[in-house]
Assembly symmetry: C2
Homo-oligomer: 652 residues x 2
């Protein structure tokens, strides 16, 4: 297999030492389609680690001369050209980077607790996150994988971002004007919610050329409902594909499928959504999950599903009232009425991405060294009954390298696929791949390769998931950084590597760091993002708008403190409550200057939050400790910041 | 005052437009010693914000040409020269950056909950953080301000870092080999624990030339004890200076003082520790806190304090057993026996820093445009009874600019002070300042000024808090970033600006970003940091060392699951418990390859944590929901990462 692969690599010279190493390691680590499963597993347990062990000298291979790097610098006082909106993996947050600098310009707390802003601490954020009957948070962990933006006319409209929580089956929405999470919805009867993608126009109403739905794939098959019955009966296990309303954030419908769904992609015409599937075997253990030679990409006919829901052809699961339609293979044998289409692809695929010309879906092999190109028009043909087999929608399946995961596009007909095992990005031409698939043996599919460091997961191009793909940058989200940065103990930061793809050859520009785990991201041109830099006080129903409203109000054992901040003072120098009171503090920041944020920390009461200019937030707690507690500004605001305090006095 | 200040600036040309703006703004905002307090306050409420409003054109002033920046780049595959260990303000975490790249190479969770690593979720981390009787965390907010490292021979020994929590009066220790927090101690009877500094050698045992104590200043004066009595009696309020044992992390003693303490500094000979003090007035409200024309820097004679403790000359406060000595002014009138020395300095000072030649403390004026230089040998002279007044230890008090906060050093006799209101760093010469103070009117104290963007708080130089100060870099931690980065909504990221100080003129190199709040930091040469990159399995008493130990153990309704991870499997494909069980999962990562970390997430149970190579962690939860829960690896590890799962089956 090494030799086979080396032959494929003939299209360009690469560092042979390093290449040989990775190829060997890859075989030891996982093997391709050619290796038998049994052999593969034996080898894995013998030396599972080798795939991740480049030597020190190999780490230096792809260095760009420092001088060449200068043109990608963002000098002091200059702004970046793009935003990167990046999921934060199991940190539970979303991050915003500037590109090309790689600087983190925001963390957006979503499924985590963030004591800096008070996320998970203020009443407003707790309401979004969801609480238990006792008022404490239900969850403060989450696993964000994919972040995607809302579309108009096939490009970002700058309104919303959505991100999944794989751990607790939740979808969160972020307002792009304030870059804060405003809604979280828990999907019913879903475990392992992994892939997520907004639609790009309405499949029913041609006049609506914007995102109105977000699709959510379920990865882990579970008993439906998962209520403690049918624990071991694989036949009772299933997965749901969910459709969430972009505005109301309510679940509109779900579609039950065979197999585990991984990533999600949508078409530009709004008609189809697709998900790559591994474990179509429905296996419970590792070995069973990779026993079949082929898995699927499943495509959903949105208009038909919504018609079925409208016609009442659905059931419900457990206590959920969400309509669930049947998208299993058995129930959708007739293409002309089918809600779903299962296209066979090589085993355990990973990733599905729509090309910016709207014509293709590319599904990567993961355990196969191939990418599968599926034509959108042929899928529609199948749904019309005019194509014999779903597999006939496959128009190319080039061999591109080991461990292909995700594919991005430059808008010039080239695809860029991350190769996890090869630790490379491979650039290949879609038209050439189609020609080769048709029999053109001279077609040079692979255009270029570049080493990344190490083991790339997602890769994404500037504007690459829109019709405005501009082919300037590719960013590689690498899962191992090893020797790329100063050592910081056993837990490594991850690497993100910026690659210039504007020319024929890819060029490595920068290594940036990302706190684990920089899972997936989108790269958005800066002119598409219009933020509000100061809040409107009227947007907060509980705002303390007038200085004369600053006061302490008491009803029974409930005390509400209405406070205002104007640097460097809180407008009540002290406020008294009684031990045992339920205390609510409402704080409005009256400062109007951009960036003049105040913090409010209460010692011993585990409370800290910030109020940005013209913003109002509140916290509620039980005053169970008597004494004097200096509430102080925790967000540096003024030369007299240290003096900006108020006294909470809890009388015994 | 504008004119006075402009005259002082004659030593170098600066952008006159911008300068004029900031001076005007500064006067409007806070005023200097010359402005009357009443006038100052009136002006503040009229236009409190102006101090923070540079115009767009002003933001571009100090740009270094892109080409010049190239030499500070860290090209792909190259390592940084220095570590920056930075406190994370009210995010509760500590951060590690590489210098000069400015890349964040680690977040160290300390006082916060970090769902990525499982900090605040695993049993081990909960034990360090502290829990309530019901097993839930006591606090998950914190406000870290200052991080400092352990010393040997006057430089960093790479063993520990310490960081304060201002919000809940806690001190945390971080092991530098693993860069993880290993101990947290709550200081008794302390509120607003702000300044922190380790000693540099033993004041008693000359043979001990390493850090053995860490000193902690208290900023907020409270009733002692703060138990709901004496709520309004200012005379019963006080502040404690605490000494924590570097190894045991126990509080050795406390010393009660007059006034609020802010920052802390220590001498290189181990004899003295000092803290700058504002609000020596003991005021409860803003206006009272700045009424006196002078506050103090208070110095502690460590040997005498420890002798007093040994001699039983101490009391205790409330339920705490920690010995408290009396360091108030009234009790320490005789220098020869005094435990403390109060040196008068201009009103509301901020910051105290020890020069690397071990000779001076520099205390900044904040509301005065001066820095006060206090000679260490003269303080010792005062304690010996050979100096008349504490103020006689002041050897210089140059006017350096508006809003001076913190001072760093280059080891060549120059000091670099952040000017909050001027938004500048001023470089000044200590010897020249002393000469000027002695009457040399020709002494050119100020050597250089550079604009920063905007409102700098702490600034620090490479190795500047050690005897090995090397004068290469100064990093400015700025509190306002405004227009320096792409807009991200009302909450701004902060700027850290890297300045080359190796030449005569300071040179601005990079703008980096820092999630609020990048409070203070130290810059450590990389050769001084020796990390462990893989754990030793033997260090974990609960390690599941042998694959045959993987099992489910049950005692009554307590189920303990012993698990091992080897990519891409957890070595139990499933484990069953009963609804209502208290379940403990112990997971040992058997992978030995650097960077091969696994995660363990349990859907619906709010659990996620990671295990680094050879590490063991555990979690405990009540299995209150029946069903199938796919525990999965949340930290990308292998091509078959998605397949790396185990089933928790909770029987109804």
């Amino acid at each position: 297999m090494n030799d086979d692969h080396a032959a494929r690599d003939g299209d360009q010279p690469i560092d042979s030492q390093r290449r040989k190493f990775f190829n060997r390691a890859a075989v030891v680590g996982v093997g391709g389609v050619a290796a038998s499963l049994a052999a593969c597993q034996k080898q894995e347990s013998a030396a599972p680690a080798k795939a991740f062990e480049p030597t020190a000298s190999e780490a230096k291979v792809a260095v760009v001369p420092a001088a060449a790097g200068a043109r990608y610098d963002v000098p002091p006082g200059q702004l970046d050209d793009y935003y990167i909106f990046s999921s934060g993996g199991h940190s539970g947050e979303v991050r915003v980077y500037g590109l090309p600098s790689g600087r983190t310009i925001k963390r957006i707390p979503v499924f985590n607790i963030d004591p800096m802003v008070g996320w998970g601490i203020t009443n407003e954020s707790k309401k979004i996150l969801g609480t238990k009957p006792d008022g404490t948070l239900r969850f403060w962990t989450g696993d964000t994988h994919h972040v995607h933006g809302s579309y108009t006319d096939g490009t970002y409209n700058g309104k919303y971002l959505w991100v999944n929580d794989k751990l607790h089956g939740r979808i969160a929405r972020i307002r792009m004007d304030t870059m804060e999470c405003d809604r979280i919805t828990k999907l019913p009867n879903v475990q392992g919610f992994h892939g997520i993608f907004p639609d790009k126009r309405d499949p029913v109403d041609a006049a609506i050329n914007s995102t109105t739905r977000v699709f959510c794939g379920q990865e882990f098959h579970i008993p439906l409902p998962d209520d403690g019955h049918n624990l071991e009966d694989a036949k009772k296990y299933g997965c749901l594909f969910s459709c969430v309303d972009a505005e109301s954030m309510e679940v509109r419908w779900q579609c039950r499928v065979d197999g585990n769904m991984d990533l999600v992609a949508t078409s530009y015409d709004g008609k189809l959504a697709g998900a790559n599937q591994y474990n179509t075997e429905g296996g419970m253990i590792f070995q069973d999950m990779m026993s079949a030679e082929r898995d699927s990409a499943v495509f959903f006919h949105i208009e038909r599903i919504e018609a079925a829901v409208k016609a009442g052809k659905f059931g419900t699961i457990g206590t959920s009232k969400v309509p669930v339609v049947d998208g299993t293979k058995a129930a959708n044998a007739d293409p002309k009425t089918a809600l779903t289409c299962y296209v066979p692809v090589p085993k355990n695929p990973h990733g599905i991405n729509t090309s910016p010309d709207a014509n293709y879906y590319v599904c990567s092999g993961k355990l196969s060294p191939t990418a599968t190109v599926i034509a959108h028009d042929l899928l529609l043909k199948w749904f019309a009954g005019d194509l014999k087999e779903p597999r006939d929608a496959v128009v190319a399946e080039p061999e591109i390298g080991l461990g292909p995961l995700h594919t991005a596009f430059d808008g010039r007909g080239n695809a860029y696929t991350t190769l996890f095992l090869d630790s490379q990005i491979v650039k290949w031409n879609i038209d050439k791949a189609i020609a080769q698939f048709k029999g053109d043996k001279s077609a040079q599919v692979v255009v270029d390769r570049i080493d990344v460091h190490y083991q790339p997961g997602h890769g994404y191009t500037s504007m690459g998931e829109t019709k405005e793909a501009d082919g300037r940058f590719f960013n590689s989200g690498n899962k191992f950084s090893k020797d790329r940065f100063l050592p910081v103990g056993p837990l490594h930061v991850e690497t993100e590597q910026l690659i210039d793809i504007s020319g024929d050859k890819m060029k490595l520009i920068h290594d940036h760091t990302a706190y684990p785990e920089p899972h997936d991201a989108i790269i958005v041109r800066r002119d598409l993002v219009k933020t509000r830099q100061i809040y409107n006080m009227d947007d907060f129903p509980n705002a303390v708008k007038d200085m004369k409203d600053v006061r302490v109000e008491r009803k029974g054992n409930k005390a509400t403190i209405y406070l205002a901040s104007v640097a460097p003072t809180f407008n009540l120098p002290e406020f008294k409550v009684k031990r045992g009171d339920e205390v609510t503090i409402v704080l409005t920041n009256h400062d109007k200057v951009e960036d003049l944020t105040h913090g409010f920390g209460i010692p011993e009461y585990n409370i800290n939050f910030i109020v940005n200019p013209q913003e109002t937030k509140s916290v509620t707690f039980k005053a169970d400790q008597p004494g004097v507690f200096w509430c102080y500004c925790t967000h540096f605001c003024h030369a007299l910041h240290l003096e900006m305090r108020s006294r909470l006095i809890v009388e015994a």
